[in-house]
Symmetry: C2
Subunit: 402 residues, 2 copies
């Protein structure tokens, strides 16, 4: 048994935010049906209805329907499905589902147990409600960019889609919270997460630097400590790339001196306390750099581990994708995807003791499971589905056969 | 009623990861008791036992105990508390709680309904289990740094503590999932989230660029599109700062031309399709820059909104902290903190329709609620607590009176 076994989810998500919440539900055992418009969600339309690599990563273990919500029959079909669903999750712009006639009030009136979950950019209320919210725009508006980059360079985006994914996992959290509540009250709720809200807490440390440093606090510090108050704390060049080394306590520094074979520095008045090192920040970094440049990332990481110094290699994505730890734990697994070939598919970061890892099923083709899902959920026959198809409600598609 | 009303949580978290999960539970209505070692968690010890600004942001609406788990009486007290708790959350290094004699097996044997939640760096299993995992180290190892920074510069950290907070909210998700399951099975579980696992999905788009671009794909692109396949897509200098502008469709570009008053570009063969613009990426950026440099962030954002172009100002943290949208929605609220004065305290990004926002209570002083919590949870009298204090189990502290 998995924690969400038996749960029925309609995932109308697009791109990253809501589909990620749907993925986590699927990996925890829920029956997640990905509902897409004709031609597929935007990440498929770019590929002429086929899957894209990012789309595949976020839609494993889901089944797929292609429903035209702009037809009365399509709307009716979604209403019927939502009557039999526990959760509906979407991340259209605020108001889109209402305009289609399948907003939260309509669907929850039919099924008060339904949890209706919306991912938004800025929220479904407030002056900025209708702002266009792509990850990078939210990174700008929410402060992420202002604290990323070199001190003398422009503000910069964080490489990962932090606003999309921070909000996607918060959305999962809101949904499951409402499910827990429903077990006790019998009633579902509408829940919501805004990207901008979800980003704010991740800036806690930076906000601390602002609080203590005031308007003159450094905004961007490259890879140094946010408040320029701790050193060594940086990314250092190695013989074959880069390493991060962080000495957040005096012990870390002393152990680093041993790791570097530089016991001579232990009593050096320039370096003997963090305060002195901060006063000689570039000199401190140069001392570390002298060591790191002469060794490989592996040599540095092994020495650091031996001496219990927080450090790690800067790894590129190909290395991460092949990481033994991620594969050993089953966070990643190589699967054969019918459209993409061999890919490292992620499972879920949520681990439940004694629950076997979900068996990975490749992301579905557009509309692949019309007969199967409508049979399971609504008891419809193949003829019923054919009638719906004739009425323009949905399209049937062939299963994958790459 | 809030969704987690009546739930009892022991929050042994330190720094960011587990305390954030605890904050979200408190904001959803749970009774969250922050359990700290003598002298307080590390973020307090830096301030001689008082709170720090980051600590205050993550510990609103919790009550506080100071328990010495290195004494038999302290261990017994934690066991008693966990018998009456629904959730225990911690993010010590793997094995620490076991060595203290209060690991998951011990506590769950006493209370099978307990959900025991661990935040880790790399997981409680696997070859990297014991690696020291600070946010910045995990950013290095997990690939975040490799995709952040300028193309010709070194890898760089993302400004926010993305590994800490992505894993903290995943940990919340795992806990509530187990709570939902417990409503149906009657039994709790051990759950776990590793920082490295939690980061991986946020790199989905970057992994896509690697998949399609192969080993020659750009690793770091500054603030441009990850695959250098879409333009305009960048951070542009404005008269008074910077703005992000993203044209992810041809419509966006056409509307941007109107917003810029540059209808002459609509038929320019260098710019008429995204493919042509990508072939002239610097020229395209220069055209946009010519416009943005001549206007303020506000003027640009208003023009972009009028023409439905995804764009936003790059805001610094002081601006974000005062954002009308965040305050109107109650994501932030100004409170008077007894130790810090006036601060903008965050609530939770999780929104539940018809549930009033939690009334904010400032983060507690170390050990502030010994009598209150032990009375509520265990029915102990003041004399009982005095006896525990004499046995070295805990310390009583005065309430705040700054």
């Amino acid at each position: 048994m998995s924690p969400l076994d038996g749960l029925r989810v309609l995932d109308l998500g697009q791109y990253y935010q809501a589909p990620y919440a749907g993925l986590l539900m699927a990996m925890a055992g829920a029956d997640v049906v990905k509902v897409e418009p004709p031609g597929g969600e935007p990440m498929r339309r770019r590929m002429d209805g086929s899957t894209s690599y990012p789309q595949a990563l976020l839609n494993s273990n889901k089944r797929a329907l292609e429903i035209d919500l702009k037809t009365p029959a399509g709307r009716d079909l979604l209403v019927s499905l939502s009557r039999s669903a526990d959760v509906l999750v979407e991340n259209f712009a605020p108001g889109v589902m209402d305009r289609l006639g399948v907003g939260p009030d309509v669907l929850r009136a039919q099924n008060p147990r339904l949890i209706y979950a919306s991912g938004t950019g800025y929220g479904s209320t407030g002056p900025d409600r209708d702002g266009l919210a792509l990850d990078v725009v939210v990174q700008a508006v929410s402060g992420v960019m202002s604290v990323t980059g070199e001190p003398d360079g422009p503000p910069q985006k964080a490489g990962p889609a932090v606003a999309d994914f921070l909000s996607g996992i918060h959305l999962y959290g809101a949904i499951v919270t409402a499910l827990y509540e429903r077990e006790r009250t019998g009633t579902g709720r509408r829940v919501e997460v805004a990207m901008q809200d979800a980003v704010y807490p991740s800036l806690t440390s930076n906000l601390g630097s602002l609080h203590y440093g005031g308007p003159d606090a450094p905004r961007r510090v490259g890879s140094r400590h946010g408040g320029l108050a701790v050193t060594p704390y940086n990314v250092y060049e190695a013989a074959d790339g880069h390493v991060a080394i962080i000495c957040s306590t005096e012990d870390h520094w002393r152990r680093l001196c041993h790791a570097m074979g530089r016991e001579d520095l232990l009593d050096d008045p320039r370096f003997d306390t963090n305060r002195h090192r901060v006063d000689h920040m570039q000199e401190t970094d140069d001392v570390v750099l002298e060591w790191t440049r002469a060794h490989t990332r592996d040599e540095i990481t092994r020495a650091a581990r031996k001496h219990a110094v927080p450090a790690g290699p800067v790894r590129d994505l190909a290395e991460v994708m092949n990481d033994p730890q991620l594969h050993e734990r089953g966070m990643l697994e190589w699967i054969d995807h019918p459209e993409l070939g061999r890919i490292a598919a992620p499972r879920s970061p949520l681990r439940f003791q004694d629950v076997p890892l979900a068996e990975l099923r490749p992301s579905p083709r557009l509309g692949e499971h019309a007969d199967e899902v409508l049979g399971d959920w609504l008891g419809l026959s193949r003829d019923d589905v054919t009638a719906l198809e004739s009425a323009g409600a949905l399209k049937r598609r062939r299963a994958a056969s790459a």
